[in-house]
Amino acid sequence: MTIATTTTDRFKETLRGLAAYGLDGTGHSLPSEPFDDNAFQHLLRWVQASKLIGLTGAAVANDALVVTPSQRDAVADKHLKAMCHTLYLERLLLDLTDGLDRAGIECRVLKGSAVAQLDYEDPFLRPFVDIDILVQSDSFDAAVDVIQRAGVNRIWHGPRPGFDRRFGKGATLSTPDGYEVDLHRTFVQGPWGLTVDLGDLWKGSRTIELGGKKLLALSDEARLLHAAIHATLGHTASTPFLPSRDIAEMLLFGAVNASAARELAARWQMEAVLAEAVTGAWHLLDLADVTTLSAWAEGYHPSELDERRRSVYRAGGATYTAKSLAALSTLPRFRDKLSMASSLAFPSRQFLEDRNLRYRDWLRRGVGSAVRARRGS
């Protein structure tokens, strides 16, 4: 028991050291002795689950993580596979954005592919497992059609036609061989998805170049806020090693304008999300450096409304319905509230089939979600 706990602690400290690898101001370090082969295999699984294989590859290549020759080969193999996966995803991204261009649909590249190219010294450090594309709400349905015509099919349908375009985060689609595409119109399901001023996302941009093609990503400040949402409200929020590193890269080495980022966060009612993500990253990576935003984040106190909204996203209660119902309060117009509520109360057959649910199960689930949503509204 003691040995297992010690090994787990050693894994966790190694993961923190890998997440912070290469940052001068970190208090974390990497072990000076190699793990035995059995333990190393476990560690590699943790590394992959945390998407830290890029930083691990760099640490091994620079002899900062001490490994045996066979362990080095195992890291090289996992890293190679991760890089191949990202390349296939980027090729898909090029093909899909060609289709959107031809249809006259403007788009922005989000998350992994954009962050790897713009925020890291070398994209080799930042693997990703899917591609994320943002389109405007009024182009959303047309964009889904373009992507489906390219052979990428929708995994989950919205409760009713048009729901995603008006109230949802977006749609998840997948190629037959499992490459996943998230088409967004906003960043996140639920109340904080609807407080984002979607017009702001299209005001500034940064350019990335993939295979000679220029693609647009979000501005530095909008990209930071998206990373903050991912770190605090996303499905990796319990172990946000990579999202925290993304935030550290942006704030320590990027061109984020701190006042512009705070203004944007305030306009989107997301100062609490930004503050939590920045303090979380600073603590997780044990960073001594102080930036304008890290100092502000340390002193930020969330409001009661922030806390209520935050509770909707916590693990366990963070269902699709709970987040959607909690978003009702952020809609200013009664007819929108009614439309959203009725879509959730009477979802389409396709929506239920996607989730393998019967209508009465959905209703039962909805009542529980409504209670949670009430707390978060």
Partner: protein, 91 residues
């Protein structure tokens, strides 16, 4: 490949560094793995470069005579051209 020809990467080719070299993905087909010497050649053809310059730079980087790397460099360049990731422009 012809004497005096230049070689360079074609558009729509994607690539990443790995621990042992680079991986290159053409617009169609599967990834191509290049070892450290192959990666050096890949770096050299980022902009249009004569084949002779690629051979010279490879020899210099590997600290060997030009004759020792001539055949190997040509072999890599032909393989990259045939895979559709490098374009040869005749003088």
């Amino acid at each position: 490949m012809s004497v005096g020809a230049t070689v360079t990467r074609v558009d729509r080719v994607l690539w990443r560094r790995t621990l042992d070299g680079v991986v290159v993905l053409p617009p169609w087909g599967d990834v191509i793995q290049l070892d450290r010497t192959g990666s050096l050649i890949w770096e050299l053809v980022a902009t249009p470069t004569t084949i002779e310059s690629v051979v010279e730079a490879t020899a210099l980087a590997c600290s060997v005579d030009i004759d020792d790397v001539m055949t190997g460099t040509h072999t890599v360049l032909v393989a990259l051209r045939d895979a559709g990731v490098v374009r040869e422009t005749l003088p």
